[in-house]
Amino acid sequence: MNCDQAFDLLTDPSHPRRAALQDHLSDCPRCRQMQEVLAPALELFESGAQSMHERADSTDRQPALLSSETLQLADQAANELITSRSTMSQSRLASRRSFFVACSRYAAVFLLGASAALGFAISRSGEGETPIQPQASQCIWKKSSAGEREVQVRPRQLVNSCVACHAQDKLARPGIPLDEFSTPNRNDEADTEEAAALSDAFNWHICLHTSHRSHAV
């Protein structure tokens, strides 16, 4: 045993004063002197540790500082927290998904309705392409030329009647510019000035869809 190992044993609280140490101390005056110098301090540590041991032992009857049950509870609580958090996020995700599904359903219904309406309108416009055979009595001009002058006609009704016939004529003969319809027919002077004025302001495009029958005036 060397002096370094002797110091280890000298300060070892678990195995104080081993036989090997005593042998070394008897042979080494330097280490013996060291032991004599350190003795009061070593004794103080011994008694201090003993005091703490006794008091620590006295508290062994008290509940443990930290039991495995407590830790298990803490661990379980942590796990539950993690689980509940993931469940919550899943439910949020599910609710969002259901919201989007509902929205998409509404959108689909709306689109279906819109497309149905559009289809219906298209089909209606397609039907319009087939000339409607208006009654001869509808043409006020014809009525008037047939000698039914006594019929009281309002200027607007007259314009409508003319526009309807001319618009159909335009559709039947696409070469004729649409501007032609913006003014009354040059060949047929309007009966009254009021009728001419009204015809300028009339919306021809709407009238195009009202009737398409070609009618040469």
Binding site: T11, L38, A41, F45, S47, M52, R55, S67, L71
Partner: protein, 181 residues
């Protein structure tokens, strides 16, 4: 510790049982107040358990444990910002004595407690590295290489700290005895 990492609570309880007393002694000596020491020890075990997954098994467990304790003691010390000498005697509470018992062992307890208070006060006067090294050696029962790793110093440095601290302590004790006589 590997078993603890696998959530073996019984193994952790065994760890607590094994290290509770030495940890408490060191913390108690360092802080001077038993209740503070108990708090720190409990915190140490909680920290060990909480960080069990991040613990690397190639590192010595004892070093890790003692390092946590010393760091928590320092933190507690800063928090309280009082000297252990002042509180140590105040914590000598009769209700914590083990047994009501006879006059003889009651006197013995008193003497031991007085010696411990004296030791605490003397350690508090020493430089912290020397005092800590001695606490770890005598109360924690650590080997010198463990002290070196815990205190992040060399093996010879750990021995020197203990030796120097013991010499200073002995010198003060002799001085006190001389004053008393």
């Amino acid at each position: 510790m590997r078993q603890v990492q696998d959530d073996d609570f019984d193994s952790f309880e065994e760890l607590v049982r094994r290290y509770q007393a030495p940890l408490l002694r060191v913390a108690w000596s360092k802080l001077g107040e038993r209740t503070w020491a108990e708090d720190v020890v409990q915190e140490t075990f909680l920290a060990v358990f909480a960080a069990r997954r991040s613990y690397r098994s190639d590192l010595p467990f004892r070093t890790w444990l003692w390092t946590i304790l010393l760091n928590l003691c320092r933190r507690q010390w800063k928090r309280r910002s009082t000297r252990p000498v002042q509180t140590s005697f105040g914590t000598f509470d009769s209700e914590r004595l083990p047994e009501p018992a006879t006059t003889e062992n009651g006197l013995q307890h008193l003497l031991l407690a007085e010696r411990r208070v004296q030791l605490d006060s003397l350690l508090a006067e020493l430089p912290e590295p020397q005092a800590d090294a001695m606490r770890l050696r005598f109360f924690g029962e650590l080997k010198f290489d463990e002290i070196a790793r815990t205190m992040d110093c060399s093996l010879s440095g750990a021995k020197r700290r203990v030796q120097t601290g013991l010499l200073k302590l002995a010198e003060r004790l002799r001085a006190e005895e001389g004053e008393a006589s």
